[in-house]
């Protein structure tokens, strides 16, 4: 985590810098089909995060040696726009984005019925237009909606959420200052229905009790975030049905 500082992240009323309670999420908004060319797409605003996701495929995996004869491979590419952060980010993949792309690909592979598409690849392009802490889990949450909106068969939706420790207290969904000056960060990706963990990373300092508290908060929040995902998709599919004569 970031360097120690004198900034107080929780005030005397137990509220955080942006006025949230410890278990409160930042506002989340998801839209589907925001791009025309892609097979599926989604846009998410999560606090100050603005992230676009496009899905292409399933299509034949290329280069050929990457093909898996038993299943499709999911290739997520997490990318931050040069203007997405305070100081300009040099465009192109860096070590951080390569790692995030890998863990997101692995998390999504668990939700998609990859066994239906041998030798295929499904590309998931995650473009962070504005970053405000928690981009990987916001990107993951939107990616799973974009895959569903592309009509790709899925077992479950992946929901991303973070908990962390600030001023010695466990809180949900770290904001930017909390991420920079907090003492621990625990991003997780969880399957909405089964509750299985498909992404987990952690850095900082957590005792076992704190870990349990953090995961409990995340599990509770997952339900709320999943509802937003489902509504975004329901909106799309209801209007599709109406177009086709209300079937």
């Amino acid at each position: 985590m970031g360097t120690a500082s004198d900034i107080k992240l929780i005030d005397e009323n137990g509220l955080r810098i942006d006025g949230r309670s410890p278990t409160e999420l930042r506002p989340i908004k998801i839209e589907t089909d925001v791009l025309d060319r892609a097979d599926g797409s989604a846009y998410i605003e999560w606090g100050g995060n603005k992230i676009l996701v496009a899905v292409y495929g399933p299509r034949e995996a290329y280069p050929k040696h990457t093909q898996d004869i038993e299943k499709a491979i999911i290739k997520a590419r997490y990318n931050m726009a040069a203007f997405s952060v305070d100081e300009r980010k040099r465009p192109g993949p860096d070590r951080r984005s390569v790692e995030i792309s890998k863990v997101i690909s692995e998390a999504l592979s668990n939700a998609v019925m990859v066994e239906q598409f041998p030798r295929a690849q499904i590309d998931v392009f995650i473009e962070v237009l504005q970053a405000d802490a928690g981009t990987r889990i916001a990107g993951l949450t939107a990616a799973s909606v974009a895959l569903a909106s592309a009509g790709i068969p899925m077992r479950d939706l992946v929901v991303g959420c973070t908990a962390g420790k600030i001023d010695g207290q466990i809180v949900l969904d770290l904001g930017k200052e909390e991420d920079n000056f907090g003492q621990a960060d625990l991003p997780m990706g969880i399957l909405a229905k089964s509750g299985k963990v498909v992404l987990i990373q952690m850095d900082g300092d957590l005792s076992l009790e704190e870990f349990d508290k953090a995961t409990e908060m995340i599990l509770d929040a997952i339900k709320r975030i999943n509802e937003i995902q489902r509504q975004a998709l329901a909106g799309k599919f209801i209007s599709l049905a109406l177009e086709r004569g209300g079937e």
Binding site: M1, G2, T3, H65, R95, R96, V98, E99, S101, K102, V103, S105, E106, A107, S109, N110, L186, L191, S194, G195, K196, V197, V198, L199, I200, Q201, M202, D203, G204, D205, L206, S207, L208, F211, D212, T215, L219
Partner: protein, 260 residues
């Protein structure tokens, strides 16, 4: 983890490993929570500021430290810099290829780095020559020379041992050489899931059979400092709690045996 896409793991071997696991045993006779034999030889490369040659079973790595002066990061003007790099050398495995770091080596390097960084093992504040202008940069380079599974823990052991013996070249900056200031040792324990079993320190065959991997790095007081899940399988929350417990117990043994 790297997989051999040629699929060299025969069905007989696979069935054997799975059958043994059901009896609570490993094909090489180990218990489920048991590490393979670890040997560590420090000062293996005298030309480096610190170094270690580590054997974890048949996995072999060489870790070398170089310490040079350079500019600090703008957001941490009063701290030295740590950078970690892992090279999967083509000599180590038939499918490893020469070239720039790929996602596998980047992930290993970043997980190893995170364990060390988040435990605050190195007293980076003591590596400042001139605040905001000049600090010591600790370059950690790890070469994997023979691969038989569990590179994350082998590399972490190598880095811990190399850092423990590293000397900062203070004489080049008009002072005296001094030992790299160290606070504590984080221990990483990597586990994989095969079927419903969670096993520690997987061999390459066990990695190929597994559906998911998890690494838990813990400090001496038993706090979690870093975690990373890998591969496309999943864990239940109970399995993750179990993995943390195993890391805590097994990590203690490793600490007593190799890091005193």
């Amino acid at each position: 983890m790297p997989r051999d896409e040629a699929g060299v793991l025969s069905e007989i071997k696979r069935d054997y490993i799975i059958r043994k696991l059901k009896e609570g045993k490993r094909d090489d006779g180990r218990g489920l929570n048991e590490f393979r034999e670890i040997t560590i030889q420090t000062n293996y490369i005298p030309r480096a500021a610190g170094s270690a040659f580590v054997k974890l079973g048949r996995t072999k790595i060489v870790a070398g430290i170089k310490i040079e002066s350079g500019e600090p990061f703008p957001d941490t003007p009063n701290q030295g810099v740590l950078t970690t790099n892992v090279e999967l050398l083509p000599m180590a495995f038939p499918t490893f290829e020469a070239g720039p770091p790929n996602e596998t080596s980047i992930e290993i390097a970043r997980v190893v780095d995170r364990g060390i960084r988040e435990s605050k093992m190195i007293e980076l504040e003591k590596l400042v020559i001139e605040p905001a202008k000049k600090v010591y940069i600790v370059f950690v380079d790890i070469n994997v020379i023979d691969y038989d599974g569990n590179l994350i823990d082998a590399c972490t052991m190598g880095v811990l041992s190399a850092l423990k013996t590293a000397i900062v070249p203070g004489s080049k900056e008009g002072g005296k050489d001094f030992a790299l200031p160290i606070r504590n040792f984080p221990v990483s324990v990597t586990m994989v899931k095969i079927g419903d079993e969670i096993i520690v320190d997987p061999s390459v065959e066990e990695e190929q059979l597994s559906s998911a991997r998890i690494t838990v790095s813990m400090s001496e007081e038993g706090h979690i400092r870093a975690m990373q899940k890998g591969d496309s399988g999943s864990f239940t929350l109970d399995e993750i709690r179990k993995a943390i417990k195993i890391s805590s117990d097994t990590g203690k043994l490793i600490r007593e045996k190799y890091l005193q």
